[in-house]
Symmetry: C4
Subunit: 174 residues, 4 copies
């Protein structure tokens, strides 16, 4: 694990945001509010936000890829990603290992990655991404090492905020 | 797209509210809190508010029509509108285009329309409606061009607030 | 509709609370937060609170009856009341008419009734009950005529608060 | 019921936390926000939090057992506990009686038990556990006798907070 290049000052952060070619999202606690509704048959339901779809569509239009990386394997994650047309990697016991492989295959440098996480199993990815973003209600360990913390909580528009941020940094940089 | 007649001062706004013959509502983020509950089978559920029904009934009693305009095509929107006895137009890639056609058929002037929206796909309708209303938690772009912003958030009584507002402007205007 | 005996000062209110033989609850917005979750098949789900059950059990133990009065006819209301072992009257277009009949049959004076409501279709019952109670997030019209407003919102423990209040007034009055 | 050893000052509390061999959780209002979603068929759904799973896993890794004790018998509790790999005792009319028997069988002293509760049916267990913990939104009666009140509400990370607290007391105590 390489040494953190933290903190980034304002202009360095804007430069880093403009470098992003791939945004990697954790699912639970980022696309959702980290809650899960549990039924009597054990089926799970999660709380997502319609605001996120418009942001992701805008990001894709600008040629920036987005993927989801989730520790658990859960049909609800697959279904939500399918609807949002997001590629989704599930069952990643070690997220950073999975991400390393993805980046290698896609020839993307970690510096070109924006990573959005909320809990301690996101730490290694946060440590290594060009721009590490925590949601407003992330665990303290995540906020401590984030370049950026969103003003919105997971499932309450945090994904949309990240999309708007990346787009706005890029548009202003032209 | 015509030039905005914005801003309306207090008495002009009241006059405009009294002119309303048709209230057009976006669905997600207006009737709902913009969240969606997603199940393992991909089925969606949305969070609506019982307060809205009483307001819509009162509006209808006074002969003011209400319709719903939604970008997506989603059975959950149809079902909710059915229960509230609201005519519902779904799958509107361009909402303003759809609305123009509806107004033409019903011989209603855009100045006689109140439009209630929350996100950027509502911008054109907001720009053209006689009274453009944003919900309390609308996107900043929407709030910037709204004649009115409700004190209540989408799904938390914003629809009811709009109904009460239109009724009260009309009742006082008699 | 008789003239309101409002307002009740502190000790008159305590006396009135001790007189209560029957507590009548509206359902939506009192047992729930007035929201409804709507599925793609139109099925409805409502948000209730486990805290309420313990309060109702305590009330029943002291011989105070509780019933639910609901304008709509909805299986979800019946199911929740069944679980809480509450008698439930649904499809009451005019709640006060239904309640008058119930009181007549049970030989209970309106002064011996605590009524808990949240919206304008509860007005007549509120006007006539010995103790009229609005939930914290009731409509302004309801709060304006309530003897008491709970500190908790509907679905967030308002029912429990009412139960605890009635019990505590009675226990202290011994 | 023995006399309370309350209050514990800071260092006594840390010592008590380090003694814990078993953490006993109430379910509703601790793992959940005490709400229940009710469907038209009477089925129930509860709101849990993904944050809790990571905390429980960490606790288990350190050899500290966790169980759930619930008054009601509800499939939703069994399913959630199954997913979190928590042993679950349901239908405990008297929780303290059930817990006494569990402790006797496992040869654990009440002083070695952390109990996490939220409502009055947890009182006896709270009175007898080595460390009695109430969630942020517990009933006043529970908070009054708790050694510790979490900063997070039930279903909003209270379980995780308790896990982190026990782990941190233990790790620092080495």
């Amino acid at each position: 694990m390489k040494v953190r290049r933290r903190p980034l000052d304002g202009s360095a952060l804007k430069r880093a945001l403009r470098e992003i070619r791939l945004v990697v999202f954790d699912f639970d606690g980022v696309f959702t509010d980290n809650r899960v509704l549990v039924g009597e048959d054990g089926r799970e339901y999660v709380f997502c936000n319609r605001a996120d779809g418009l942001g992701l569509a805008n990001l894709r239009q600008r040629g920036i890829d987005c993927i989801v990386l989730s520790t658990e394997t859960n049909p609800v994650v697959a279904k939500r990603c399918e609807k949002l047309r997001l590629e989704c990697f599930q069952g990643c016991a070690d997220k950073w290992e999975t991400l390393t492989e993805i980046l290698w295959r896609r020839k993307i440098d970690p510096a070109q990655v924006g990573f959005v996480g909320n809990d301690i199993n996101d730490l290694a990815c946060m440590e290594n991404a060009g721009v590490a973003i925590g949601v407003a209600d992330a665990a303290p360990e995540i906020k401590a090492i984030a370049h950026l913390v969103t003003s919105r909580r997971g499932g309450e528009g945090a994904v949309r905020e990240v999309c708007d941020l990346v787009i706005s940094a890029r548009d202003r940089g032209r």
